[in-house]
């Protein structure tokens, strides 16, 4: 396969870029939209040879933006791709950029941990770490009615979900799903410790085959809540255990597997 062109020298084919670093402003070509300009790679000509297949819908995830027919990169990171099938919409799979960042930007459907900062009339203002506090209606709790208000105080932690989140409007949260059930959302219990980590670590910890979580689960009896906005809330039997857990979780972002195993074995001995 021909060497990849230097960054910035023109659009590159997304499929050849998987796992590589992309920069904001770069343009990516999808196999379907790759025209005669991208005939350099053998794979590409093969694709064009067997043309008649229908154009598949491609989903562009976080870090990518559609601009007319073009696909632009908006975040710096590694380009990832998921093959279609298994819940992911679109026949062409999903492309996204795996980026590192600390600033959270509200996204519709995300589960986050917020802090109630104000109560005004029938709305709560919730700080979620975004550019603007989110609003949360007092009716958006399980079993809440006009007469039966939920018991939420300023300073409480809320685990909720965004229903409105776009760049032009105030984000809006709810603590119920479409069936009106809480499903674990609502006010997070008393005590515990809240701390912040990078957004990348949250995704790493929530990945289905995450070893860190499995190992931590064997350590102590504990409860833990992950918000996609980079907040983690932990609670164990004692304050000491809670602090240990928080430190381990914070540190494990930049640890190798061996280092982690060492620390976990040391902790389970004590």
């Amino acid at each position: 396969m021909a060497a990849a062109p230097i960054p910035g020298s023109g659009p590159r084919v997304a499929r050849t870029m998987l796992g590589q670093v992309v920069l904001p402003g770069e343009e990516l070509l999808l196999p379907e939209s790759a025209g005669p300009g991208a005939e350099g790679s053998a794979e590409q000509t093969l694709r064009l040879g067997s043309v008649v297949r229908p154009r598949a819908r491609v989903v562009c995830g976080p870090g990518l933006r559609r601009c007319g027919d073009r696909l632009l990169v908006t975040k710096c990171g590694r380009l990832r791709h998921k093959e279609p099938g298994g819940g992911g919409g679109g026949g062409g799979g999903v492309y996204w950029v795996d980026s590192q960042q600390k600033r959270y930007v509200p996204v519709k459907g995300d589960h986050v941990i917020g802090i109630v900062t104000a109560k005004s009339g029938d709305l709560f203002k919730v700080d979620v770490g975004g550019s603007e506090p989110a609003s949360l209606s007092y009716l958006a709790f399980e079993g809440a009615t006009k007469r039966n208000r939920p018991n939420v105080q300023v300073g409480d932690l809320i685990y909720g979900q965004f229903v409105v989140a776009n760049k032009d409007m105030e984000p809006e949260m709810v603590c119920i799903d479409s069936n009106g059930r809480a499903n674990g959302m609502g006010v997070i219990g008393q005590d515990g410790l809240l701390f912040k980590v990078t957004l990348g670590l949250i995704r790493k910890l929530l990945a289905p085959e995450c070893e860190i979580i499995q190992e931590i689960g064997k350590l102590y009896p504990l409860e833990i809540v992950f918000g996609m906005n980079g907040r983690i809330w932990v609670k164990a039997r004692t304050i000491q255990q809670t602090l240990i857990l928080a430190n381990v979780l914070e540190a494990c972002e930049h640890m190798t597997t061996e280092q982690r195993k060492q620390i976990f074995s040391r902790l389970s001995e004590s």
Binding site: C60, G87, G88, V105, P221, L222, E223, V225, A236
Partner: protein
């Protein structure tokens, strides 16, 4: 002088309903046309080329949930919060719902248990429909199963 220049009534006046009776066909038509012209002129539109929205094959989706199959964000381990542990199983099973569901369906009630239930059901339902007098005939045996007891009523001689 008065005969040559008959004062003409204004157009707006002629357009009024009560003035239309006296009009002849031609002036009526003329007035109608003028009216239509005025109406169409009053309609305004943007002088733009027609917007053509092409169907896009790229869908934007800003959530990582779709991309990475992330787990549910609440967890509990080693029985710290049983409620959450139950929820975890339920929420995280959603990914594999298709293959999980039919297994759990079978586990719910086994065939043997079903057969046993129906066996005792005959007696239970039978008791329900039996008359009060006959109800005594249904008796529970040592297994808790209800069986009809066929005992003939006979006169018991009082003992002295």
């Amino acid at each position: 002088m008065a005969a040559t220049s008959k004062p003409k009534l204004s157009k707006n006046l002629m357009r009024m309903k009560f003035m239309q009776r006296g009009l002849d066909a031609e002036t009526k038509k003329q007035l109608e046309e003028e009216e239509k012209k005025i109406i169409s002129e009053e309609h305004w539109y943007l002088d733009l080329p027609e917007l053509k929205e092409k169907e896009s094959f790229i869908i934007e989706e800003q959530s990582f949930m779709l991309c990475e199959d992330l787990l549910y964000g609440r967890m509990s381990f080693r029985g710290f919060n049983p409620e959450i542990e139950k929820l975890m199983v339920q929420m995280n099973a959603k990914h594999k719902e298709e293959d999980v569901e039919d297994v759990t369906m079978e586990v719910d009630v086994s065939d043997e248990e079903m057969a046993r239930r129906y066996e005792s059901l005959v007696g239970t339902i039978g008791k329900k429909f039996a008359k009060k007098r006959d109800r005594a005939q249904y008796d529970e045996d040592e297994n808790g199963n209800i069986k009809p007891v066929k005992a003939k009523k006979t006169f018991l001689k009082p003992q002295e």
